[in-house]
C-alpha cells in the first residue's frame, strides 16, 4: 500500500507525538505535586483551611524575636501587618538577622505556627525577597 519510507516516517512522527504527550503529562503532574507556593503572613491569616502542603513564607524577622535553644530556633516572621511564629531546626544562614528579610519553607501547623524545614539564604546583604519589598512598600 504505502512505501517502506512513508511507513517509517509515519512511525517516527507517531513516536515523537507519543513522547511529547507523555513528557508533557509527566511534567505537569509532577509540577502539580512539587510546586511550593509562596505566601505572606497576611495571606495565611485569611486562609479558609490549612493544607498539608509545603509552602514558603516570606517577610521580615521581627526585632527581638529570635530565641535559640540546643535543638531549635524560634522566631517571628512579620509583614508589618500580621505575624506568624516559626519553629525551625536546621542550618541557619549568616544573613538571617533580626529586621532583615527572610524566606522560610515548611508546613503550617495552624494559622499561628509554622514548622520550617529550611531557611533560605541570599548572597547579597541588600537583597530582599521581592514579595517582602512589596509588602514593606505597601506599608
Amino acid at each position: 500500500m504505502y512505501g517502506r519510507k512513508v511507513k517509517l516516517r509515519f512511525f517516527f512522527i507517531l513516536l515523537i507525538l507519543i513522547t511529547l504527550v507523555l513528557s508533557v503529562f509527566l511534567i505537569l503532574k509532577s509540577l502539580e505535586e512539587n510546586v511550593v507556593y509562596f505566601q505572606s503572613p497576611t495571606e495565611i491569616k485569611f486562609l479558609s483551611e490549612i493544607e498539608k502542603k509545603k509552602i514558603r513564607i516570606g517577610g521580615m524577622v521581627k526585632i527581638d524575636s529570635i530565641d535559640i535553644e540546643l535543638k531549635e530556633v524560634k522566631f517571628i516572621i512579620t509583614d508589618l501587618k500580621n505575624e506568624i511564629n516559626v519553629i525551625y531546626s536546621g542550618v541557619i544562614p549568616n544573613l538571617f538577622t533580626e529586621g532583615k528579610g527572610v524566606v522560610a519553607e515548611g508546613y503550617l501547623k495552624d494559622k499561628n505556627f509554622f514548622l520550617a524545614t529550611k531557611i533560605l539564604a541570599k548572597h547579597d546583604e541588600n537583597y530582599m525577597p521581592p514579595e517582602v519589598k512589596a509588602a514593606l512598600e505597601e506599608k
Binding site: 505535586e33 540546643l70 533560605l120 546583604e125
Partner: protein
C-alpha cells in the same frame, strides 16, 4: 585615565565592526580570494577590546573610584588578586569579557578555517559580527563599564565576600569560553545552511569548535559546583537552582550536538537536527545570560540587578532567533538522495534514543526553570520548583539512558545484528548482584535504587572493559562514558550514604547521639587584611573512639559588612568530612552543621574525566591529519 582609554577602545572596536561588515560584503561579492585585510581588521577589533578590558583591569588595580563599576565593586583593602578578579565579578565587566571572547573566537575561527571556502568564512564572520555589534551596543548603552562619577568617592563599596574566592575568580572566564564558543557554532551553522555547505568535511571542521566549547562549559560548571560546595556551606554540589539550571541546559544541548555531529561526520544524516541543535545551544546560552542578569529568576544566587538590561537582551535574543528560524526554513535543503537509511538496531538509532532522552531532560529543566516566571505573570501566584520535581522526573529516565549508553557504542553503523554477546549479559548479572548486595541492608526504596545502581554499574563495567581491549581510536569516547558512569555512581552513593548532624552549641558544650560526640572546645580570633576571622575548634569522636579535629571559620568582612562562614572540609579518597559554623544574631549559640559525604572526590574527578575525554578527542583529530 585608564577607564577613558578603555571607553575609547570600546567605541573604536564598534567602529571596526562596521568596517569589517563593509569589507566583507565587498569581498563576498567581487573577488574570488579571501581578502586578508579582513583578518587584520578582525585582529584589530580583538586588540581594541583587549585594550578596553585591560583598561578596566587597570582601573580596578589602582582603585580608580571615579569609575562607577570600580566604585561599586572594589575597595582599597581588597587583596590584589580579588581586585583583578573583581573585574569580571560584576555585570558590566562580565559582559565586557563576553565581548572579548566573542571577538577572540571569530579571529581564531578565521585563522583556523583556511581550508574552507571563501564565501562560508565570510558569511560566518558576518553572522558573528551581528552578535558582536549587538553586544557592543548593549554594553555601551545599558551597562557601560566606564561610567564616570563625580565627585570622586574616597572609598569603594567592596566586592561581595562570597565572590572573593579562587574558584569563583576563574569560574566566569571558563564558563564564558564555553557559552561564547557556542556563538561560533551558531554563526557557522547559519552560514553553512544558507550556502548549502553542510557536508562530512564541514562536520569534521565544526566538531573541533563544538568540542572546545563543550570542554570549557563542562569545566566551568564543575568549578561553579565546587565553589558552591565549599563556600555556600550547604554541603551539596547541585541544588537545582535556576542559575545552575541555565548553565546545565546549554550543556545538555551541546552534548547532544556533539553526538549528532559525530553521526553527521560519518554518515551525513540528521542535518536538520544538527542545525536546530546549534541554534538552540546558542539561544540557551544567551537565555542563561538574560535570566541571570535580568533578576527575573528567584534564585538563591540572585545579586541585585537591573530589569532594563534584561529587556534589551530579550529583544536582541528574539531578533537572533527570528533570523535563524528564517534561514532554517528558507535556505535549509534536505539532502534527498542520501536520506536516513539506517536499520532500527544501529549506532545511529542508539544515539538518537539518547538524544531523545537528553532533550527530555532539557525540557524538564527548562519548564521547571521558567514555569514560575510565567505563572507569576499570568496569575500572580508566587511559586518555586524544588529538587523533588527534578529528581522525580529525571532519575527514573536515567536507567534506560545509562543502558543505551552502555550498549550503543557496541553496535555498528547502519545495521547491526542481534548477536548475543555473552559478556554483555554476564556484566548485567554481575552489576545486578552487586547492587542487590549493596542496597539490601539499607533502609531505602529497594526497587528503584537497585535498578539505578545496576544500570550505573553496568555502564561502569562495560566501559572499564573497553580500556583493556579497544583500540586507541575509541579512547576518548570510552573515557568520557566511563567518567559519566563514575559520576552517576558517586552521586548515587553520595546520596545514599551521607549523614548529617545539625545542632546549636555554646562554647564548651558537647553534643551527643548514638554515633557521634561533638565537643565545641574554643574559639580563636584573628585579624586579616579585610576581615576578622573567628575559628572554632571542634573535637568529633565517632563510635569507634577516633577523634578528629575540625576548624570551621566565620569571617566578618569590613567592606561590605557581611558575615560568611568558611567550611572546614577534610577530604580523602573515600569521604569528605564537612563542618560549618554559623552565628546567630545576639545569641551566644552557634549553629553547627556536621556532614559526612562519601565519594565527593570522585564526583569532581569523574567530571574531570568526562572533559578529559573531550580533550583527547580534540587532539586525536589533529594527530590524524
Amino acid at each position: 585615565m585608564a577607564s577613558l582609554i578603555g571607553l575609547y577602545a570600546l567605541i573604536f572596536g564598534l567602529c571596526f565592526s562596521f568596517l569589517i561588515v563593509f569589507f566583507s560584503v565587498k569581498n563576498f561579492r567581487n573577488i574570488n580570494v579571501f581578502d586578508n585585510k579582513i583578518i587584520f581588521l578582525t585582529f584589530l577589533q580583538f586588540f581594541f577590546v583587549v585594550v578596553s578590558f585591560l583598561g578596566l583591569i587597570l582601573s580596578f588595580v589602582v582603585s580608580d573610584f571615579s569609575n562607577e563599576t570600580v566604585f561599586n565593586h572594589s575597595h582599597t583593602t581588597k587583596p590584589l588578586f580579588y581586585k583583578i578578579s573583581g573585574t569580571w565579578g560584576n555585570h558590566e565587566g562580565s559582559l565586557l569579557l563576553w565581548l572579548l571572547v566573542l571577538t577572540l573566537f571569530i579571529f581564531l575561527f578565521l585563522l583556523k578555517s583556511k581550508k574552507q571556502t571563501k564565501q562560508y568564512r565570510i558569511l560566518t564572520l558576518l553572522f558573528q559580527q551581528i552578535i558582536i555589534i549587538g553586544f557592543f551596543i548593549f554594553l555601551i548603552k545599558t551597562s557601560n563599564p566606564f561610567n564616570y562619577i563625580f565627585p570622586v568617592p574616597d572609598e569603594g563599596l567592596g566586592l561581595n565576600p562570597i565572590l572573593q574566592d579562587p574558584a569563583l575568580a576563574i569560574h566566569p572566564p571558563i564558563l564564558y569560553l564555553g557559552y561564547v564558543g557556542s556563538s561560533i557554532i551558531f554563526s557557522s551553522t547559519l552560514a553553512a545552511t544558507s550556502l548549502n555547505y553542510i557536508s562530512k568535511e564541514w562536520a569534521k571542521h565544526i566538531k573541533q569548535w563544538v568540542l572546545v566549547s563543550w570542554i570549557f562549559l563542562t569545566l566551568g560548571i564543575l568549578l561553579g559546583s565546587i565553589w558552591a560546595y565549599y563556600e555556600l556551606g550547604w554541603g551539596g554540589f547541585w541544588f537545582w537552582d535556576p542559575v545552575e539550571n541555565v548553565s546545565l541546559m546549554p550543556w545538555l544541548a551541546l552534548t547532544t550536538l556533539l553526538h549528532c555531529i559525530l553521526v553527521l561526520e560519518k554518515r551525513l544524516v540528521l542535518t536538520s537536527w544538527v542545525v536546530i541543535l546549534s541554534i538552540s545551544t546558542f539561544t540557551l546560552s544567551m537565555c542563561g545570560t538574560f535570566l541571570v542578569r535580568s533578576g527575573i529568576l528567584n534564585s538563591v544566587h540572585t545579586f541585585a540587578n537591573d530589569p532594563e538590561r534584561g529587556l534589551y537582551i530579550l529583544i536582541f535574543l528574539f531578533c537572533l532567533i527570528f533570523l535563524s528560524l528564517f534561514i532554517f526554513f528558507f535556505f535549509h535543503k534536505v539532502e534527498k538522495k542520501n536520506i536516513g537509511n539506517f536499520f532500527w538496531l544501529s549506532k545511529e538509532t542508539s544515539i538518537l534514543i539518547n538524544n531523545w532522552f537528553m532533550m527530555y531532560f532539557l525540557s524538564v529543566i527548562l519548564i521547571g526553570t521558567v514555569y514560575p516566571i510565567f505563572l507569576e505573570v499570568i496569575s500572580s501566584d508566587k511559586i518555586s520548583v524544588g529538587p523533588p520535581f527534578y529528581n522525580k522526573l529525571i532519575i527514573p529516565f536515567l536507567i534506560p539512558f545509562l543502558l543505551a549508553m552502555a550498549i550503543g557504542p557496541k553496535l555498528n553503523w547502519i545495521k547491526s545484528e542481534l548477536k548475543i554477546k555473552s559478556y554483555l549479559i554476564l556484566f548485567l548479572l554481575i552489576s545486578l548482584l552487586l547492587s542487590i548486595f549493596i542496597i539490601k541492608s539499607l533502609n531505602i526504596n529497594f526497587l528503584l535504587n537497585t535498578i539505578l545502581v545496576t544500570s550505573a554499574f553496568y555502564l561502569f563495567f562495560i566501559t572499564s572493559r573497553d580500556f583493556f581491549i579497544k583500540k586507541f581510536k575509541f579512547f576518548s569516547q570510552t573515557i568520557a562514558h566511563f567518567g559519566f558512569s563514575l559520576l552517576i555512581l558517586s552521586i548515587l552513593f553520595n546520596n545514599i550514604f551521607s549523614t548529617e548532624i545539625i545542632t546549636n552549641l555554646r562554647i564548651g558544650e558537647t553534643f551527643h547521639d548514638e554515633k557521634f560526640k561533638i565537643n565545641f572546645e574554643n574559639i580563636e580570633k584573628r585579624n586579616e587584611q579585610n576581615f576578622k576571622s573567628f575559628i572554632g575548634k571542634f573535637n568529633i569522636e565517632n563510635f569507634n573512639g577516633n577523634v578528629e579535629i575540625l576548624r570551621p571559620e566565620l569571617r566578618i568582612y569590613n567592606q561590605p559588612n557581611i558575615v560568611t562562614s568558611e567550611a572546614d572540609i577534610k577530604t580523602n579518597l573515600l569521604t569528605d568530612k564537612f563542618m560549618t559554623m554559623n552565628l546567630v544574631q545576639n545569641q551566644d549559640y552557634f549553629n553547627i552543621r556536621y556532614q559526612i559525604k562519601p565519594f565527593m572526590f570522585w564526583i569532581w574527578f569523574s567530571v574531570l574525566l568526562i572533559s578529559f575525554g573531550g580533550i583527547i578527542s580534540l587532539f586525536q583529530r589533529r594527530y590524524e591529519r
